[in-house]
Amino acid sequence: MSRPAPSPIFTLRGAGAPLNTLHFSCHGGDTPLLFSGSGKGAIHMWNLNTRRAETVAEGHSGNSVVWVNTLQGTDTLISQGRDMRVCLWDLSEGRRAVLDSLWTGSVGFCQCSLLEMSTGTHLLAFAGQQTEEIKIVELPSKTPVCTLVPDAKLGMIMCIKLWQPDSGPGPLLLAGYEDGSLLLWDVTQRAQLSQTKAHPEPVMCLTFDPQCLRGVSGSSEKDLCSWRLDGQNNLQLQDSVTLVNPGVSQLCVRGDGKLLASAGWDHRVRIFGWKKLRPLAVLQYHTDLVLSVAFSDHQDPRQRLLAAGSKDQRISLWSIFNEGADTG
């Protein structure tokens, strides 16, 4: 910690609203892109070479966009808004049109989760109309796969994560609930595999690393709670990390499984080593809540950036712990 705190390599401004969600897309084409969803319903596509918004798409009639993602292999953007709709966008050849949309009925803040099954088909998990209901559909056909409702009253569904285990037959789903519980669902069986109470407060966010079967969740209090799955798909709580200030909006593990980033309500982004959750750095730039963090999926590891979107309407981009790259 002897080195001075790094500063962002650049910032993206001009979104004009809080930035709820960020998503990198650096695979296709030669220009790396960053998608952001704003509190005023705009989806910005930032060109990371020119550092400017290439296009701004409005698809949720002014309602806050809570989640954006891209379908791998196709030029399709998927966005979830608080107008209770999920939109699919066609981005090929410069088009910016809504292809299809899906009514979710959820008024909450729970972000969807996307899983690629095979080329062309994806599973999308989202919060349903009922408080505790999770729905899973297949894309692009929109065929409903299942609806998962817990037996006990756990409150509103807060966050979900869908993933495909190496060993198991079907995809599994992790869900965090309002009462602080974490549930593991088997999607194909529609069965609840495991449950644990991770936080005394609502689970605000969670992330899971399928490689080492570990995950971490954050809440509105100071603790980050880490947990793992044993061989029997049981959730086991592990050590927790206590932050200086309470409140975490989002957690994100870098693709190489080395870093964890947290978006703090204390305007700071914190970086941890993912193995032992050792605090590594505090990134300070924003002047309001940090709402989202994302790691770039760029092929060149040196160009893998960390982006943080904040309520102060700016996105900061950081180049940190990249071997060989300038740490700024």
Partner: protein, 1114 residues
């Protein structure tokens, strides 16, 4: 003549016609006889004359052959007659040719020494030479070649030495020319328009072989002519050069030497003559070439820089001729010849240049086609190397003319080498040598004091409307240690560009960047070179000329991507912390300047400028540099020349960025991300030179990137700029220039920028709030700049209202007569002045403290409570809020600055009274403190703010001013009046005087604006009356008059009375006897110190005294 006259064509008649004259001539030769004959000869036609040639020539030759001295006239006449014959006929007999030649030579030489010219008249010499020339041209067929048989060597030799002597020693230019031309004809190298014998290669060989005997003599004598007296004019030199190279070209011809000397065994009967024969063996060629090269060196050094272009052109021909024929035999001269050619590539005379280009192209083509291409390049690069080695010495020692020539040669080599340059530069020795030479030659003279002294005040930065050209024109000239001529500099730059054009851009940038980093001594030069290299690599200012030489061989090899990579690496180096943040201001000087600025009279006098909307003059105090300076080294150690050097380095680097933009064109746009911020940073620098260079650079960049002006450049890239600014604002201690960049942005853009910088302003305010102590000074200048920009972008209408007051200057008669209306108005005003209308307003304000700021900006997302304030107003409010706190800052400088900011705030906010009044209320207490209990300087500024406030919210201030400000001001005015009345001329330089002046100048309009009550007006009047005294300094009197002028507008009658009390020029007789006679205390009073000004006021404000006489007094 002969064509008009009928010519005699029958040989018999001709013979009969000529015979008497010929016979006569053989008997007793006289001039008249010869002239008769020659007149008759002209009537014979050519063919006939040919038949009679021998017959006619005989008497003439007989005249010459008669022993004993002959008269010059006679010989001349004979020579002229013979010339005519020889010019029209041809000599077919070898004997005639031989005899005539020797006879004519005899005419020229002294009888004793056949090699020495006789002391005869010029006319004779030129006549004989003309005859000789005619003879040589008349020689028919093969007979001429008999001349060059070994047996003739002595004869030819004496003829040659005779001609050489004439060419060299003769005083007459014509004779010299004729002799040289004869020499040319004798060696069959004549280039006149007549027909010449074309020798076969064998004959040429014989010719060359014979001439080899005389080569040393000819070349040496002719080079003496060339290098000798310059007075003999260019024609002789040109001819001599021609003789030289043609002779050398004949003897040393590669073709002849290669064919091998035919075994010319000397006939045994030659005797001593055989000793004269030369066998052109290898050794002979070698030694001759050595001698020739030393001669050539002399000739080239003498003629390459010759003033007459024909001579230089002839040198090009020389190079061409010898390189074409003798490049093998004269191997060691090739370098010299090329140098001569290359030096002419950049000749100022287009004909020379053109010819030279053609020649060089031929040369390079010839060499490329031949196997000797490698050696040719070798020679060139060798020459280049040695030239680079001697360049610094030459640049130090020689005069400008010579320097120009040397550099031209240097450039010429590069051009001739063309694409080979990159190969040559691959040799480390070459690159090293060339770069060192450039480094040394381009050394700057950094001892000029003025550069450091010159400051750009805010006013200069402000002139955003200035066009590009005004900046370009102001660019300061650089002073170099080793040369002064601007042409030399541009030549050097062209050399760099050519290097960049042909060389490998990566190699060059690496190498020069190395030099740049290596030593601070080379840094500036290396940067200059790098700038031009990049421009050259992009083909700027080189392509057109290079086209002439190598267009077909050479295309641009540097791709835009390569260029971009190079540019990025150079720019990174330029803008790195150590090379960009250089100290350019010494700290002490800076402090002095600021103090001076604070005390400068101009700022004080400007208070009178009531037109608040456009306060253009500013006294911005740039605290940035003094408080933060540069972190690297302490200014005490930085000597003047170090500062100078820093300034130049920055200028060069800024220019460099402009060059890079030019080189990349629109592709430079992405690089603006990293480059624009540093440039703007320097545009805000207070060193004039640097900020000008930065502005010039900005113009270049905006042009290169296709923006129509600086405004677009900034607004379209403001996201990049703001990104850096906002980052750096958070790390101010490391990046103290961030506010400066913001300042520059603001000055060069328009209101469209405002929404974009909204959040940055919040950043600034937040940074300010976090630590008032450390950052206040720094941010004040930003706030000041911001408000100045706001005032410019949103001109308030207060200026309009203040103008509307003016026409009311002279109250019209109607108004005066309408007494009833007047009384009503008067009553109303009196009530108002007593505060009847305001009372409840004030209560209101005290109960409702103004809403807290920051709401307006941050609450965008929240529910709408009230109509949103326009951004510029909310920003202004936020800033004004800070001003309230900063007004009582312990630092005087800061207080002054804040007062300036406050004034601007008031101007901008005046648009919306609802917002202004609460703020004015809040800032009143600290402002009052400034007005009443502060340093005079602060009082001055505070008074100015007060005036502005008075302009915009008059009523609101009335009571406060009358209660809290006026008493103090008037008492101080009264007190000072005594001092100033008695003071001498030095008093006008004191602060007290300035304060008095400022108060007097502002007081009038303030009173009028506030519509003060009678009591207050009386107090003001009382305080100002002493200043009407003619004993006061004149400007104070004028200011006092202006106060009264304003006061009279408020209350004309009252002040008419007051003035008349002071001095009344005339008596007033009541219109009706019932009325009491008027008694004014000023009546009948003797003229005193007040009379003049009182009268002036009465006259100007109330019309003439005569007019007022008639008016009834209410």
């Amino acid at each position: 003549m002969p064509t008009i006259m009928h010519q005699i064509s029958d040989p018999k008649i001709a013979f009969a016609y000529l015979r008497p004259a010929c016979v006569l001539l053989t008997k007793a030769p006289t001039v008249t006889d010869v002239e008769t004959l020659s007149a008759q000869l002209k009537e014979i036609d050519d063919a006939t004359l040919q038949q009679l040639q021998e017959y006619v020539l005989f008497p003439l030759r007989f005249v010459l052959k008669v022993p004993g001295t002959k008269k010059d006239k006679l010989v001349q006449a004979v020579a002229e007659a013979m010339s005519h014959v020889l010019e029209t006929t041809c000599v077919q007999s070898w004997e005639t040719l031989r005899d005539l030649l020797s006879e004519l030579c005899l005419c020229l030489c002294t009888p004793t020494d056949p090699g020495k010219p006789a002391e005869t008249s010029e006319e004779l010499k030129s006549a004989v030479l003309r005859c000789l020339d005619a003879l040589l041209h008349a020689a028919y067929g093969d007979i001429i070649f008999k001349l060059f048989e070994p047996i003739m060597l002595p004869g030819i030799g004496s003829a040659i030495s005779l001609l050489l002597a004439l060419g060299e020693k003769e005083r007459s230019r014509d004779v010299q020319l004729a002799a040289l031309k004869c020499l040319q004809a004798l060696t069959l190298q004549c280039d006149c328009t007549q027909e010449h014998v074309v020798p076969s290669s064998q004959e040429r060989g014989a010719l060359g072989s014979t001439m080899a005997s005389f080569l040393p003599g000819i070349t040496m004598a002719v080079s003496r002519i060339i290098t000798g007296d310059l007075r003999h004019g260019h024609a002789v030199t040109v001819r001599a050069i021609k003789v030289w190279y043609r002779t050398v070209g004949l003897v040393m011809e590669d073709a002849q030497l290669q064919a091998g000397e035919p075994c010319r065994t000397a006939p045994p009967d030659l005797g001593r003559v055989s000793q004269l024969m030369v066998h052109r063996s290898q050794d002979w060629v070698k030694s001759t070439a050595g001698r020739l090269s030393s001669l050539l060196k002399k000739i080239i050094s003498c003629s390459s820089a010759h003033q007459h272009w024909r001579v230089r052109l002839e040198m090009v021909e020389l190079g061409e001729h010898l390189l074409a024929r003798c490049s093998r035999s004269l191997g060691e001269c090739v370098g010299l010849l090329l140098e001569a050619l290359v030096g002419a590539v950049n000749d100022e005379e287009p004909r020379v240049r053109k010819r030279c280009e053609v020649v060089l192209r031929e040369v390079s083509q010839r060499n490329q086609s031949r196997s000797s291409a490698q050696t040719f390049t070798d020679i060139l690069s060798e020459n280049l190397h040695s030239l680079a080695t001697s360049l610094p010495r030459l640049m130090r020692t020689s005069d400008d003319q010579k320097k120009l020539f040397v550099l031209n040669v240097f450039l010429g080599y590069l051009k001739v080498l063309g694409s080979q340059v990159s190969v040559v530069l691959n040799s480390a020795a070459h690159l090293q040598r060339i770069s060192k030479a450039l480094m040394q030659v381009l050394e700057l003279d950094v001892m000029d004091v003025r550069i450091v002294e010159e400051r750009s005040y805010a006013a200069t930065i402000e002139t955003s409307s200035d066009s590009y050209h005004s900046y370009a024109a102001r660019i300061q000239r650089r002073h170099f240690l080793y040369f002064t001529d601007e042409k030399i500099f541009s030549l050097l730059m062209e050399i760099c560009r050519t290097l960049g054009y042909y060389g490998n851009i990566y190699l060059l940038t690496d190498h020069f960047l190395d030099l740049y980093q290596q030593s601070s001594a080379y840094r500036k030069q290396a940067a200059m070179v790098l700038n031009e290299i990049v421009r050259g690599a992009a083909g700027i200012s080189v392509a057109t000329e290079a086209q002439g030489l190598e267009s077909q061989v050479w295309g641009k090899s540097v791709t835009q991507d390569d260029l971009k990579v190079a540019v990025v690496s150079i720019m990174e180096e330029y803008t790195s912390l150590n090379n960009w943040h250089l100290i350019t201001v010494s700290e002490e000087a800076e402090r002095d300047r600021q103090d001076q600025q604070l005390l400068s009279p101009s700022s004080l006098l400007s208070i009178s400028n009531s037109n608040v909307g456009c306060h253009t003059q500013t006294n911005s105090i740039q605290e940035i540099s003094s408080s933060f300076g540069s972190q690297s080294s302490s200014p005490s150690t930085s000597a003047l020349h170090q500062l100078n050097s820093n300034i130049w380095q920055l200028c060069i680097q800024l220019e460099g960025i402009a060059c890079f933009a030019q080189a990349l064109g629109r592709d430079f746009r992405p690089l603006l991300m990293t480059s624009l911020y540093p440039v703007l940073e320097k545009a805000g620098e207070e060193t004039l030179l640097v900020s000008q260079a930065a502005l010039g650079s900005m113009w270049d960049i905006s042009k290169a990137c296709g923006y129509p002006s600086l405004k677009e450049l900034i607004t379209e890239n403001c996201d990049y700029l703001l990104n850096d600014i906002s980052l750096n604002l958070q790390r101010l201690s490391q990046h103290p220039q961030a506010p400066r960049v913001l300042t520059v942005m603001l000055t060069h853009s328009d209101c469209s920028l405002l929404p974009l910088i909204g959040d940055i302003v919040q950043d600034v305010l937040m940074a300010l709030d976090l630590s008032y102590q450390h950052t206040a000074a720094l941010f004040c200048s930003v706030l000041h700049a911001l408000l100045k920009a706001l005032a410019r972008w949103f001109p308030s209408n207060s200026s309009r209202t203040s103008n509307s007051v003016r026409p009311k200057q002279n109250p019209t008669h109607e108004e005066l007569f309408n007494i009833r209306q007047f009384m009503l108005d008067h009553q109303k005003e009196k009530e108002l002045a007593e505060g009847i209308g305001i009372e409840d307003d004030l209560e209101d304000l005290n109960e409702n403290p103004p809403p807290l700021e920051c709401e307006d900006v941050d609450d965008i997302g929240g529910p709408d409570v009230k109509a949103e304030l326009p951004l510029h107003l909310s920003v202004t409010k936020d800033i004004m809020e800070r001003c309230i706190h900063l007004l009582s800052d312990p630092s005087l400088r800061l207080r002054l600055k804040v007062l300036d900011v406050l004034e601007l705030c008031v101007c901008v906010l005046s648009e919306k009274e609802n917002e202004l009044l609460p703020m004015a209320h809040r800032c009143w207490p600290p402002l009052l403190q400034r007005l009443t209990a502060d340093d005079p300087l602060a009082v001055l500024r505070a008074f100015r703010v007060l005036c502005t406030l008075g302009e915009t919210c008059g009523d609101f201030l009335r009571r406060r001013v009358s209660k809290e400000v006026l008493p103090k001001l008037s008492s101080s005015l009264l007190r000072q009046a005594l001092t100033s009345a008695k003071a001498g001329p030095v008093y006008t330089h004191t602060l007290n005087y300035k304060l008095q002046l400022a108060v007097l100048q502002g007081l009038g309009s303030l009173c009028q604006r506030l519509s003060l009550g009678d009591a207050e007006l009386d107090a003001v009047c009382e305080a100002c009356l002493p200043y009407l005294s003619c004993r006061q300094p004149i400007r104070l009197q004028e200011a006092a008059i202006s106060v009264f002028q304003h006061l009279i507008q408020v209350d004309p009658d009252g002040f008419w009375f007051t003035l008349n009390e002071l001095h009344c020029p005339s008596s007033y007789i009541p219109p009706h006897p019932d009325l009491h006679p008027i008694q004014l205390s000023g009546m009948g009073r003797a003229r005193d110190e007040f009379s003049d000004n009182a009268l002036r006021l009465l006259r100007e404000e109330f019309g003439s005294a005569a007019e007022t006489e008639e008016q009834p007094v209410s």
